[in-house]
């Protein structure tokens, strides 16, 4: 297990470094430099501009600036927002819980919809109800989440006269309000992933049901729900866990659009605001943390495999 963990951690080092390099370099793809952005339309005198460039360290070479920046990042300093002058980390830490609870709620919706429907479709393979589910899955995979979000808002406000609470509502402070706020956005964001999970669960259960040990379990006279629940589902869940891990980045990305539609003050809105205001240190910080977060989450998924399937420990 220790060897497995060490191997995985060693693979992560170059990837995390690469994530940091790309996040850093992105700022230098912008036409002009940081001082040009800060000065905007104003044409300052050349000496003052040179002074500012020295102050920001822009007069030094790119590798030196990268190493300095990385040193600061490691110490938890991601720089300051051009607009609010607050630290980037503080801005992100304020917005992140909103995104986290939205993605977690969406994941829950996806699992609650996907796994039971997948099992149902596998057990009733070839019948009308299974076909119905397949058609629904195709539709769910094709509906853009942001359009679904708009339709949900339209339906809730026009026909139900219901408006979810706005602003910063955290699950661990106001659980009921947060539930009301998260219901529609998590449905909009989680449905497509639910459809993917359903497809994967169905195909994995079908595969497992053809295995010898399932036949043995049935031959022992085990009830069908025990065969499905204890034997089939547990083994079918491994690819589903992979799928969920791989798609977490998709949920984070989708959250950007959904937060914008539902006016949720999370990372998505923060990034969009930063892009509109050309507040690049914030964009850079969000990229760095999102990229590193996804890499670490993939590590957690790898470790979760081991928990679900002890055979992986020997690999």
């Amino acid at each position: 297990m220790l060897r497995f963990l060490t191997q995985r951690l060693l693979i992560l080092v170059p990837i995390v470094l690469g994530v940091s390099m790309l996040s850093f370099l992105l700022l230098y793809l912008i036409p002009g430099d940081v001082v040009d952005i800060l000065m905007g339309q104003e044409s300052g005198d050349p000496e003052r501009l040179a002074e500012l460039r020295r102050l920001f360290g822009i007069d030094r070479s790119l590798p030196v600036r990268y190493l300095e920046w990385l040193g600061e990042v490691v110490r938890g300093n991601l720089g300051r927002s051009f607009v609010t002058r607050r630290s980037v980390l503080a801005e992100i830490l304020t917005a992140f819980p909103v995104t986290l609870q939205l993605t977690a709620a969406s994941l829950l919706v996806a699992l609650v919809v996907g796994v039971p429907l997948g099992v149902f479709a596998a057990v009733r393979r070839g019948r009308g109800s299974s076909l119905g589910i397949s058609v629904l899955v195709l539709l769910a995979l094709s509906v853009p989440s942001f359009w679904l979000g708009i339709l949900l808002i339209l339906f809730a406000s026009l026909y139900l006269n219901w408006f979810p609470p706005q602003g910063l509502v955290l699950l661990w402070i106001q659980p009921v309000e947060a539930f009301k706020q998260l219901l529609l956005p998590s449905l909009a964001l989680g449905l497509a992933l639910g459809a993917m999970i359903m497809r994967m669960t169905r195909s994995c259960i079908l595969e497992v049901l053809a295995q010898d040990y399932v036949r043995t379990a049935r031959a022992k006279g085990l009830a069908e729900w025990l065969v499905i629940g204890n034997h089939a589902l547990r083994n079918a869940l491994i690819p589903v866990v992979t799928l969920v891990g791989l798609q977490f980045g998709y949920l984070l990305g989708g959250a950007i659009v959904i937060e914008e539609i539902f006016s949720l003050p999370g990372m998505g809105r923060l990034v969009l605001r930063s892009i509109a205001q050309r507040d690049f240190p914030l964009v850079q910080g969000a990229l760095l943390l999102a990229g590193t977060g996804v890499v670490l989450l993939n590590l957690c998924v790898d470790l979760l495999y081991v928990a679900i399937d002890p055979r992986m420990r020997r690999r």
Partner: protein, 285 residues
């Protein structure tokens, strides 16, 4: 493992239902292609022409999908939007496919340091949530149509590089390739005559399935205001504009969304069909 569930008398043929769905996919994609090509002829009016007297008019004989806040005909804008969606979708996938194939081939043919370098680079790109990376790229590059193609193409590049590498690695050790090597064929000749044609099948499957993802990404970027810029008609941009009026004029939000859904569904069905045809092991998915 995968073969177990598909074994049995019914597994060797594609069910009729699958043919019907794939045929529907081909029909939808062909129709969209035709609409995109003939947009100026197919659209009832100029999509840019404003009519202040017909602002937010509901669907009628004159405007089958109604009009928007400037009195522009939504049907004509949806028809012209097909050009952007299909153009960016196909263009960005072509970019990912071409560059991904080259990188995958480089990694697979030079196993070792070069392989590790290229593939870790792809892992880095994969680490970022796709929309976030595309947004950041658009922010620094500027909202030009070619930048949308580049941003989406770059974001989906790792999937193609990985697919190409895996396919080429499998094929390059097969007997017929080694026979060509033994016959003294040059590396390039072996690659183009023996490896590439056999590696193309999984790449084509990936490409056909990726067009729908790219169409969704373009719509999302335009919806967020960094993709196709108004007044050029794009489905995502139209959805974005509709948000201010959707309670009084829901048709402004409904039709562009339906267009995105139909296009994505069409390419998904087509992709599933091509996958069934080229990779029977995945039929059960």
């Amino acid at each position: 493992m995968l073969g177990r569930a598909t074994s049995g008398p019914d597994a060797r043929r594609i069910p009729v239902r699958r043919y019907a769905l794939s045929a529907a996919g081909v029909a939808v994609v062909a129709l969209l292609g035709l609409v995109a090509l003939l947009a100026p002829l197919a659209a009832p009016v100029d999509p840019m022409v404003m009519n202040p007297r017909a602002r937010l008019a509901p669907p009628s004989g004159a405007h089958p999908m109604g009009t928007d806040q400037f009195g522009r005909d939504i049907l004509s804008r949806v028809i012209h939007g097909t050009r952007i969606s299909l153009g960016v979708g196909v263009g960005s996938v072509a970019l990912s496919l071409g560059v991904g194939l080259a990188l995958g081939a480089l990694a697979a043919s030079r196993e070792g340091v070069m392989d590790a370098f290229v593939m870790r680079g792809m892992d880095v790109l994969l680490a970022f949530p796709a929309i976030l990376l595309a947004l950041a790229l658009m922010a620094v590059l500027g909202s030009k149509p070619r930048n949308v193609v580049f941003a989406i193409g770059l974001v989906y590049l790792p999937v193609f590089a990985r697919t190409a590498r895996a396919a080429i690695l499998t094929i390059k050790h097969r007997e017929f390739v080694e026979a060509a090597h033994a016959l003294g064929r040059a590396d390039l000749s072996r690659f183009f005559r023996h490896i590439l044609p056999n590696a193309l099948a999984p790449m084509l499957v990936q490409a056909s399935l990726s067009v729908s993802t790219a169409i969704l990404a373009e719509a999302a970027l335009s919806f967020l205001g960094v993709g196709t810029q108004p007044p050029t008609p794009s489905w995502g941009g139209m959805l974005s504009e509709s948000r201010a009026f959707m309670e009084v004029a829901p048709w402004t939000a409904v039709f562009p969304g339906v267009a995105i859904m139909v296009a994505v569904l069409g390419f998904n069905l087509l992709g599933d069909g091509i996958r069934d045809l080229l990779d029977p092991r995945l039929r059960n998915l």
